[in-house]
């Protein structure tokens, strides 16, 4: 049967891989191409790259860097960051990316999602939704790498994006990101309850048990991981790693052995 996907989500800032905490304080992780080679060796199932500066700098993807990355990569790849039109998406697909991830562009022009889905198929379009808790624990969607508050709430926005043609939702908790404190399971469950498309839980994963929670209690179809696959451990140094396949399977099947 189909297994739950565990996707390293790597953040690009310029030509370096970085890791943020709650979307702030980017810390250098390493060279993206080298990191991809390591994930190849570790036989990771899927990778996602997000350029966290593209939209804020008003530019599109760094195609030269991405070409180097795709040349090294023999697994499905998603890219997000400054994808604002069909031409950019087409170039990414031609280069070997499976899916494009849109965030800010979708907030600015929701119809873009429809146009992308119509042209390339919904399964190639992921809408990324960054969410932060406001006062009184209300959730709000943010754009521009978490710097701009939008008027949207995650459930309604996810539903709208699905209606527009999104094939998947990458749901990121800004509050949990980089904290190793576990996914925001309530947020995840709230969104998976209203949409039919797969939801990828993201932000806060610190252990295999967290993966289980996101799937079993949150209803996530897939999980994206950041800190856990680039650091040796919480508060420790950089080490590109991936959990042992058997333990991973147990975790996402609903029963972690740790």
């Amino acid at each position: 049967m189909l297994r739950v996907r565990v996707i390293p989500c790597l953040l690009l800032k310029g030509d370096a891989l970085v890791k943020t905490t709650r979307f702030r304080s980017p810390s250098y992780i390493g060279d993206p191409v080298n990191t991809v080679r390591i994930f190849n060796e570790l036989e990771v199932d899927e990778l996602a790259f997000l350029d966290i500066r593209a939209s804020r700098e008003g530019r599109g993807p760094d195609f030269d860097l991405l070409r180097e990355i795709t040349n090294e990569c023999f697994m499905p790849l998603s890219y997000g960051g400054g994808v604002g039109d069909l031409e950019t998406a087409e170039r990414l697909f031609a280069m070997g990316f499976e899916k494009v991830v849109v965030n800010t562009a979708a907030v600015r022009d929701p119809d873009l999602v429809t146009r992308l889905a119509r042209r390339f198929g919904s399964q190639a379009v992921v809408v990324s939704i960054d969410v932060r808790s406001t006062l009184f624990r209300h959730y709000r969607v943010y754009s521009l790498a978490g710097t701009r508050k939008t008027p949207h709430e995650p459930q309604a926005w996810a539903l709208e994006m699905e209606r527009r043609g999104a094939g998947e939702i990458l749901l990121t908790s800004m509050d949990r990101e980089g904290t190793w404190s576990g996914f925001d399971v309530e947020l995840t469950a709230a969104v998976t309850a209203v949409v039919d498309v797969p939801v990828i839980a993201h932000g806060g994963c610190g252990s295999l048990g967290d993966l289980t929670d996101a799937v079993v209690r949150g209803g996530a179809s897939a999980v994206a991981v950041g800190s856990m696959v680039v650091y040796q451990g919480r508060g420790k140094g950089v080490l590109v790693n991936f959990p042992d396949r058997r333990r991973l399977n147990e975790a996402v099947a609903g029963g972690a052995s740790t």
């Binding site: 036989e43 390339f120 399964q123």
Partner: protein
């Protein structure tokens, strides 16, 4: 040389990349003469059935493809949509397929249990149901698995043409073969070591 047929749809670069990684030369072409000179052909495909068949039919190399596959009998490998194109027809479209393998392409929607999200997207295991030279290399793995992304599946008329089976709500043919014509529903070029084993076997034919 392996020639990857360029009719404007598919992961051409990724396939060429993986072939290069395993030490196999290949070229991407949309030229009828180059395709006519190929030792082996790969038919990639991502997208919709009719769009693909229309492009192939209007490409100027449709006759060459038929000749290479059916008369010269060079090894041909259809990947993903490329495998579906080998069949007679698809529920996704109205234009006939290449018809090189007696089979139909059908929709998952309406046939899989409610709650199972279509497309079938992600890694899944394959079961070898028949001897086949391009899947021999999978013997070295305990549980060969590949990356799938598709909303339609192939069902062979005759089980004799089915080489690999996978289940997604319903069991379907994830690998097919008829003489020199092979097809795989998954993306070997996105399935790291498993894909390399399969493409390696194809290149060695």
């Amino acid at each position: 040389m392996i020639t990857i047929v360029d009719y404007g749809m598919g992961n051409l670069g990724s396939i060429a990349n993986m072939l290069k990684k395993i030490g196999s030369a290949s070229r991407i072409s949309r030229d009828a003469d180059e395709i006519a000179a190929a030792d082996k052909l790969i038919l990639p495909g991502v997208g919709a059935f009719d769009a693909a068949m229309r492009r192939i039919n209007e490409s100027g190399f449709r006759e060459v493809l038929d000749r290479k596959a059916l008369e010269e009998k060079v090894p041909v490998l259809g990947i993903c949509l490329g495998m579906q194109l080998l069949t007679r027809s698809s529920e996704e479209g109205e234009i006939p397929g290449l018809g090189w393998i007696p089979a139909e392409t059908k929709a998952f929607r309406g046939r899989v249990p409610a709650g199972l999200k279509v497309p079938h997207m992600g890694w899944n295991v394959v079961e070898r149901v028949q001897e086949c030279r391009i899947t021999e290399g999978l013997d070295q793995f305990a549980e060969p698995r590949f990356y799938f992304v598709h909303s339609y599946f192939v069902e062979c008329d005759d089980p004799e043409h089915s080489t690999l089976r996978t289940t997604f709500g319903v069991p379907f043919d994830s690998g097919v073969k008829r003489d020199n014509v092979f097809g795989v529903q998954f993306h070997p070029e996105k399935s790291h070591k498993f894909g390399m084993a399969l493409l390696g076997d194809f290149a060695a034919l």
